[in-house]
């Protein structure tokens, strides 16, 4: 069992910082390049959402938490920004609250496809917490 917690400012250059830290944290599970890249993408989606939707470009704190347990990893991305009014709608493929910014509304869909599970907790005016898990099976064939 291992745990980590990282706090950083909601700046766009921290998107890369956060996904790199997440990937480094899970290295002891011996993931494949493919699995690492899936986790990096999912973390990048959640952190980017916190930067552009949660804080809408203004400055705030984003928290990344990670837990390793046996062969599973769990990450949470937390902001104290504007929150999501209709979570179900937000998670629909192609739904974006900011289509004018060339967002395609695929962030949550990508997180779902690349991780085993995703849970979204949010309240308007309070903020958002996205929790994702992934199991890294030991490769026994080939």
């Amino acid at each position: 069992m291992n745990k980590m917690r990282l706090e950083f400012l909601s700046r766009s250059d921290n998107e890369r910082f956060a996904r790199t830290v997440a990937a480094a944290f899970m290295l002891e599970l011996d993931p494949t390049v493919e699995q690492l890249s899936e986790v990096k993408t999912a973390i990048s989606e959640a952190v980017t959402n916190a930067v552009i939707h949660g804080y809408d470009g203004s400055e705030g704190i984003i928290v990344l938490e990670g837990t390793l347990d046996k062969n599973a990893v769990k990450f949470s991305v937390i902001d104290r920004g504007i929150g999501i009014r209709d979570i179900e709608k937000a998670r629909e493929p192609l739904y974006s609250g900011k289509p004018e910014m060339e967002r395609s509304g695929m962030g949550f869909t990508i997180m779902e496809a690349f991780m085993d599970s995703i849970e979204v907790e949010s309240a308007p005016g309070k903020g958002t917490r996205v929790t994702m898990t992934k199991t890294v099976e030991a490769e026994d064939e080939g």
Binding site: E15, V51, I52, P93, E102, R103, S104, M106, G107, A113
Partner: protein, 113 residues
């Protein structure tokens, strides 16, 4: 990013490098759109051969450029993606609207057809 023009195909080629996320997407968008206007081409190729990482910000960038070139009667080639990037594009059906190819050469052959 490296931009060049292949006159024979009225094609602007954008070779992308490194990692494509929200942080870098704006600058790439501006550079491509500026060259599209300036060079008077109508087709655009985005080459991902040297791109190791992309998230939905890249998807937005590519879909936005697709709208731009189709508005001027041109076509979009997207090529050289790794597995992960290819999967992200497939999620929104890019292969139905753009020329998706393994290499730039292969993509340009489609323009001939």
């Amino acid at each position: 990013m490296e931009l060049s023009v292949i006159g024979k195909y009225k094609l602007l080629v954008a070779r992308l490098y490194g990692e494509l996320d929200h942080h870098g997407a704006g600058e790439i968008r501006e550079a491509i759109d500026r060259e599209l206007m300036r060079r008077g081409v109508r087709n655009l190729a985005m080459d991902f051969t040297n791109m190791g990482f992309m998230d939905s910000s890249g998807l937005g960038l590519v879909m936005g450029r697709y709208k731009k070139v189709s508005a001027i009667g041109g076509r979009l080639i997207v090529c050289g993606m790794n597995n992960n990037i290819r999967r992200i594009f497939q999620m929104c059906g890019l292969q139905r609207i753009a020329i998706v190819a393994d290499s730039l050469e292969e993509g340009m052959e489609e323009l001939d057809k």
